[in-house]
């Protein structure tokens, strides 16, 4: 899996490409933990390049969400493929996350207050 992190002021964008599974999710966790330790206020995860995600992927996002919530940070997930969306739905977690259909919409969402 490739993870590219870019920052634009207080907005941090993670673009993921490949399979998010128990081999690759520790690397994503590391990146998200770095942002959490800096108390990053706005994190956008672009998932359009992720064609498979397993339970470790979803657990990584749950942990990042818990951490962000503690310091009132925001985590928005954008452009979920059907497979990835399905994993969120199965785990009954699609309602707790902020999910955007497009990266543009996710940026707009983060530009306004929650």
């Amino acid at each position: 899996m490739k993870i590219q992190v870019t920052s634009e002021g207080d907005l941090h964008i993670l673009e993921l490409v490949g399979e998010l599974d128990y081999h690759s999710s520790p690397e994503l966790r590391e990146k998200l933990n770095e942002l959490a330790s800096k108390q990053a206020s706005k994190v956008l995860v672009d998932l359009k390049g992720v064609d498979y995600m397993d339970s470790s992927g979803i657990a990584t996002f749950v942990e990042a969400f818990q951490k962000a919530k503690r310091y009132q940070g925001r985590l928005v997930l954008a452009e979920l493929t059907d497979t990835v969306r399905g994993v969120f739905e199965i785990a009954k977690l699609e309602s707790i996350f902020e999910i955007s259909p497009t990266v543009i919409e996710a940026r707009e969402r983060l530009a306004v207050k929650a």
Binding site: S25, D54, S55, V62, E63, T83, I90, L93
Partner: protein, 268 residues
């Protein structure tokens, strides 16, 4: 996206001989991906032996067993372990570790096969327990929960690594009819929601007709019939009819003839 009817398991001319007896005698079956296949048959028909071959616990005398693109017949233990990561297995007796909590039991495969952190494993365990309807039971010990709940914990453990295939050995054994039907519903639910291929070995007719997309009936180590529950129900085969109706009298001999008995007795 995978074609939902692509076979994920293909068994070709499988023969297993124990001593001078062919327990499996030329088995050919296709197990479609994402569907529930029920393997049925009376005691001694070879269904448990077949299941053991599918999960690599027995090696065939001859024949091939293709699981998700690999022929597992003749695989070395290390290679077999790689293939086994794609499986989940629900054993007949749940087989929980009594000294561990429910949550720790579900976490065992994750700790053994991955390098995931304890925090991530804890979250995965909670998601899996929710899937089997056991949210909040993480800290219970196995002796504090019922037999049906133990089965569900074992199922949560079987799906902890997101397997493509789950094998169930007599999932309803030892459970009351209501709990057994709850387990059936869970098998259906997981299969549909997670697109898991399920292979269920059972002799319980009601359960088979409730959950199966495909039923395979074995008799004396051979495949007697393969079909949808409807096709099996309407089968003209007298063996199949006797079997599904559970009749003692019919073409399947309930006991040996007295001639065979005397012959056997006098020859030894």
């Amino acid at each position: 996206m995978n074609d939902p009817v692509r076979p994920i398991i293909e068994v070709k001319n499988l023969v297993k001989v124990f001593g001078d007896r062919a327990v499996l005698d030329g088995i050919n079956i296709l197990i479609p991906q994402g569907k529930i296949t029920v393997i049925m048959g009376g005691s001694g028909c070879g269904k448990t032996t077949l299941l053991r071959h599918l999960i690599g616990l027995h090696q065939p005398t001859t024949g091939e067993i293709w699981v998700d693109g690999s022929n597992i017949a003749g695989l070395k233990e290390k290679e077999m372990n790689e293939v086994r990561r794609k499986f989940g297995m629900l054993f007949q007796g749940a087989a929980l570790f009594n000294s561990m909590t429910v949550g720790e039991n579900v976490a065992v495969p994750l700790k053994e096969h991955t390098t995931l952190s304890a925090e991530i494993i804890r979250i995965i365990v909670r998601v899996k327990l929710e899937l089997v309807g056991l949210t909040g039971f993480d800290d219970f010990m196995p002796h504090q929960i019922s037999g049906g709940m133990k089965k569900r914990v074992a199922l949560a453990r079987a799906i902890s690594l997101d397997p493509k295939i789950v094998f169930y050995d007599e999932p309803g054994a030892g459970l009351d009819p209501i709990t057994a039907s709850m387990i059936d519903r869970l098998i259906l639910d997981l299969s549909k929601k997670l697109n898991i291929t399920s292979v269920v070995v059972t002799h319980e007719m009601k359960s088979a007709f409730r959950i199966a997309d495909q039923i395979i009936i074995l008799y004396k180590g051979k495949v007697l019939q393969v079909g949808t529950p409807q096709e099996i129900q309407n089968s003209k085969d007298s063996y199949v009819q006797q079997f599904i109706k559970g009749e003692a009298e019919g073409v399947i001999p309930f006991k040996q003839t007295s001639e065979a008995y005397l012959k056997g007795l006098l020859e030894t």
